[in-house]
Symmetry: C2
Subunit: 270 residues, 2 copies
């Protein structure tokens, strides 16, 4: 039997990564864990985010997975490096793929990053960008209202436009960025509104799309691409409310997730 | 001292990959070998292309490199798999990165591929695309006049437009592709003309750009990214005429290559 790709997130934002994995890698099977009960991770201290992330990873390792995708920016910022060293299977986060796509796309070497307060404060994106090209100019902006708005299902329309417009105003009016990275896996759900506000001349990069693409690269490098074609059966687990999963998954997949199960995480040390 | 990335090509086309490597990975040092003397590889039998490719690889392995980029579609189609198995360092070709970018970009799952006769006949692109998504529709077209035209330095203007227009007519008029992969490393030099002919609604993918981006991913996966910032010194070797190198490099880099040296390849077996 083909092994699955494990996907972990603090909640439902990572479903945009899962959607892209299904679209770009239709032969692959996913096992998704969303820690909705303890979401958001953004305001939590580093050691706690690390512990929660390790618990999800341990849960997945019991399920015969071949790779782990950390589909959460905060968890990537705080736990990726340690997991890469500790685990016997490949691990990818959502920060580096978005950063790399931005480096490819920008013409004027000035990149904008939007994300949660936690992600922006962590400095993970500027670090990833400048590790590769120290001469890049990076402008970051925290958008604390976006995640709560998405979780309420407000994605387009007047209210969404107003919030996005007011939030992005400093980025739009005072910088000359030509590329904007959506540094939060919730944000692709607002992409149309963000593009409309920023204007067509700004290239928007979805870290979800880019992470799926790099997952494909990494599977190939390790000769782990699935040979079974189509109709893969995915499994979804959440630590919290099933309702929010159903609601958001409907926005992303245009259908309900059928195989969704509630689980609880226990403290583990790997 | 940081080790270099080895780049090999049948001639000068791979310089578009080298340009993108320099742009997207400014901390890395390149050693480029172009087999101009025996170019083009397209019409040659498989065993010969393989032998020539192995000779360039052997030449590079003596120079302390950390990774090899096969910046030639024909060489990728015929030698990548064997090199991946044989070499102790990572190897990447130009086919898979372009294929993966196309999978990410296409909305209607219909992808066009243009390349030399050799590349199109090898079926390497449809194979790479369908390995990942067997339901993709792929339309391929050989463009035998493009490489000779580029090597004459004809990149824009009426003559270029006429050749590109006449060549791409079947692709433009009879298919509904939404994404077109430039499956030859010479073609990015004609990108503006190709985009103008195909229209803005077609997304053009440069395998050179995408290969540089995946080189970055693979270096990171193997913890091989350079920490030395800027002003890397690159070395270029050619088996043939120095003049064509100088001419094409001027089109790509807007400056002359300074460190260019003539070498000869000997038959080696690895």
């Amino acid at each position: 039997m083909e092994r699955a790709i494990g996907v972990i997130d603090s909640g439902v934002g990572g479903l945009t990564v899962a959607y892209e994995l299904m679209r770009q890698l239709p032969n692959e099977k996913l096992i998704y864990v969303g820690d909705t009960l303890r979401c958001p991770y953004g305001p939590r201290p580093k050691h706690e985010v690390k512990q929660f992330t390790l618990e999800m990873v341990e849960f997945l390792l019991e399920k015969e997975i071949k790779m782990i995708v950390i589909a959460c920016n905060t968890a990537t910022a705080f736990a990726l490096e340690e997991l890469k060293k500790k685990l016997p299977i490949p691990v990818i986060g959502v920060v580096q793929p978005g950063a790399r796509a931005a480096i490819k796309m920008t013409k004027n070497n000035h990149v904008g990053i939007i994300g949660t307060e936690g992600t922006i404060q962590s400095g993970a994106y500027p670090a990833a960008l400048k590790q590769i090209n120290s001469e890049l100019k990076v402008t970051t902006l925290a958008c604390p209202l976006f995640v709560p708005m998405v979780e309420k299902g407000i994605l387009t329309g007047e209210q969404a436009k107003k919030v996005v417009e007011e939030t992005l105003l400093p980025l739009k009016n005072t910088t000359d960025i030509d590329t904007l990275v959506l540094g939060c896996t919730h944000y692709p759900l607002l992409e149309k509104t963000i593009q409309a506000v920023m204007g067509d001349e700004i290239q928007i990069i979805s870290s979800s799309e880019e992470t799926a693409r790099e997952t494909s690269t990494i599977l190939e490098v390790h000769s782990l691409l699935s040979n079974e074609s189509g109709n893969s059966k995915h499994h979804f687990f959440t630590t919290g409310d099933l309702h929010i999963f159903t609601k958001i998954s409907l926005s992303i997949f245009n259908e309900h997730i059928t195989d969704l199960q509630k689980v609880s995480m226990e403290k583990v040390v790997i």
